[in-house]
Amino acid sequence: MDVRSTWANRVSDRGMLYLFLLPTFGFLLFLVIFPLIWSLYLSFCDYSANAARPPVFIGIENYSSIFREKEVWDRFVTTGKFVLLAVAIEFFLGFGIAMLLNREFYGKGFLTTLFILPMMFSPAVIGKFFRFMMDTNWGIINYILGRLFGIPKIAWTTSYEYALYSLVITDVWIWTPFIILLSLAGLSSVPSYLYEAADVDRASGWFKFRYITLPYVAPILILAVLFRTMDAFRFFDVVYVLTEGGPGYATQIIPFYIYKLAFSFWRTGRSCALAYVLLIIIIALSNIYITYLNRLRRA
């Protein structure tokens, strides 16, 4: 058989390249790009996926109504508080623990694994555990606080004072290990000779941290905070299990509200609009981080 006449030989290298890319591109188009474009279109429509009628184009009404309603603003404020608190605590706690772990001691490997463990559980399962532990009447947390310090029962998940903090505590428990992990990676990249040189110059601990450690780990810390911020804005499963958005709607952060709009109230168009607003916020914040990161790199 003449090999030159085979089908494969008649396709150019570039053609072959496109052929290999085609299935992936097709999948991407079908699974990612089409839903994105379709949901963008729906965000300008009055549409319920549950009703037997087609989408009706209503322009920017979904977007403008979102910004008109106090309840939506309240949820944005709740989301902002949650993200700020959770990411800040995770950052300081995670980096602090990583600093402690970044030295040689007996059992370091075991302890590091232990610290990283929470990240490996399903958030929904953790939410359920925390719901039990934070139960006002039977929870282990109130039991310990009562027995050791005589503190009266705290309604962790059902009071306006504590409900948001119960979410923050749970998120911190799950995701601090992520910051620890990235911080450890950053810390281990600092060349040891720099510290040795600083020791020779009798530099203080603060000086070494400020002028050696921090410049090396800052870019990776910024990345860690960027990932955590993006993720915290999408925090849903723990809210669903732990507080169910209550009391009232005090812990309904935006992703939970989008879920309620989309699958409980079936206001598909409006939920798409809100999802896009959230997306824009996340992209804007990410850009700020990335700009700062680039500035750090240049410095």
Partner: protein, 436 residues
């Protein structure tokens, strides 16, 4: 060699053809319902149906909190993993308007003896819109809100004496909402880790505050709206409505701490652990309260109707039995419904301790022997009332639950809460086009 290959081909094709036919004949109906005792009972009972028809039946239970969303997400996809669904009464409008339930009007008119059911059950579980004569299901489980109380406390002579001294009348199972508050206050003893009452307070449209509050609301003489004009202001936030809200907020003082998210599991647990003297729940959840494996007070609990006040209304719960519009087994599903509605099946259902919808079963004295809650069922069957069944019910219920939940925690006064709910409800109805 060629003959062997041909022989193999014949065997293979025969297998495909005959196997395919056999496969086609073996129908399995999938029933979806919440994951609870009635679902287990139904699937166990369905073995009778399989024995009679050869059609297998399997259950696909879904946890209560996810039940609505899971079912409707499948509906929205235009394909369901189940053939038969037992939707909450309030889902009916949402499901029918979306075209998700099979219209069984002709079958219903031919096969169903309407005399066997109260009009309320037909309207709530089967017909949409009310009075239209279009049917989408059959009555299945006539659940309702009721009270469970600790008999050891209520029958204690010391408690009786102390109560009489304090309130001037005998300690008894409360018959009015006012008496309920007295009893709840009397038994609230935080120093002994005992509280008066645990009612559903979770800020959810179903399985939450709305279910229980409405029985109180209607009994205070209030209404949700004008049934003709659908106007809410002046009805929901009438003086009666605000009085009911004031009562509800005040009653929360006698709940255990942190009861603002109580639903079926939490109220049951509160009673099982002896944290409260009285609890309110849909009484189809009663098996957990009389099970020695689950409850410390399983032999010290009895059941009573939801109280009255100016009027007497009890929130209807329960589900009808409907067929998914997307099932390929419509004929078999209708056979299942017909089997379900046979008196023989209904009696077996009742014997399993489940609520029947059949008047002839409820009014037969044997029914009272099957479950400790059946005496309550017989009393409340004529006074059951249901809330909105329009597609917007979930949003309206959520608004009511979230705002009242905030009110019990002091975020709004009861009056502000009812005014705000009325305003929000009219916004929802306006948007949905009810005022055109």
């Amino acid at each position: 060699m060629r003959r062997v290959a041909l022989g193999l081909l014949v065997v293979f094709l025969s297998g495909l053809v005959f196997g395919g036919i056999a496969f086609a004949e073996e129908v399995t109906l999938t029933v979806t319902w919440a994951a609870w005792a009635p679902m287990d009972a139904l699937i166990a009972l369905a073995e009778d149906f399989t024995a009679k028809t050869g059609i297998k039946v399997k259950g696909d239970p879904i946890p209560w909190p996810q039940y609505h969303d899971k079912v409707f997400t499948e509906f929205a996809s235009g394909k369901t993993s189940f053939d038969i669904v037992l939707p909450d009464s309030q889902w009916l409008g949402e499901a029918v308007v979306g075209g998700h339930l099979l219209d069984i009007t002709d079958w219903f008119n031919e096969k169903v003896n309407k005399e066997e059911f109260s009009d309320m059950l037909i309207r709530s579980y089967c017909e949409y819109p009310d009075g239209s004569g279009r049917y989408y299901g059959v009555p299945a489980l006539a659940d309702f809100f009721g009270l469970a109380y600790r008999t050891d406390l209520f029958n204690d002579p010391e408690e009786k004496k102390a109560f009489k001294e304090k309130y001037g009348y005998d300690l008894k199972v409360p018959e009015t909402w006012s008496e309920l508050k007295d009893v709840a206050e009397f038994f609230t003893r935080p120093e002994k880790n005992l509280y008066g009452i645990a009612l559903w307070q979770a800020p959810m449209a179903t399985a939450g505050l709305v279910d229980h509050f409405l029985a109180c609301f209607w009994s205070f003489g209030a209404e949700l709206w004008d049934p003709n004009t659908k106007k809410v202001k002046g009805y929901l936030n009438s003086e009666e409505g605000k009085a009911a809200a004031r009562y509800w907020v005040d009653l929360y003082r006698f709940h255990p701490p942190g009861a603002a998210n109580y639903s079926m599991d939490e109220t049951n647990t509160a009673m099982q652990q002896g944290l409260v003297a009285i609890t309110g729940t849909y009484l189809a959840f009663y098996p957990g309260l009389v099970d020695p494996q689950l409850s410390l007070y399983w032999d010290k609990v009895d059941f009573a109707p939801t109280p009255k006040e100016k009027e007497w209304w009890v929130q209807l719960g329960g589900q009808g039995m409907s067929i998914s519009a997307y099932t390929p087994y419509k004929k078999e599903a209708l056979m299942f419904l017909e089997w379900w509605l046979s008196p023989e099946t209904q009696w077996k259902w009742a014997q399993l301790g489940m609520f029947s919808c059949f008047n002839s079963v409820i009014n037969d004295d044997r029914y009272l022997e099957f479950a400790p809650v059946n005496k309550v069922h017989r009393v409340v069957a004529p006074i059951l009332k249901d809330f909105w069944e329009i597609p917007e019910y979930n949003e309206m219920g959520t608004v009511m639950a979230e705002i009242l939940n905030a009110a019990i925690l002091g975020k709004y006064t009861p009056e502000e809460a009812m005014d705000l709910i009325a305003e929000k409800h009219e916004e929802i109805l306006e948007r949905a086009g009810y005022y055109k």
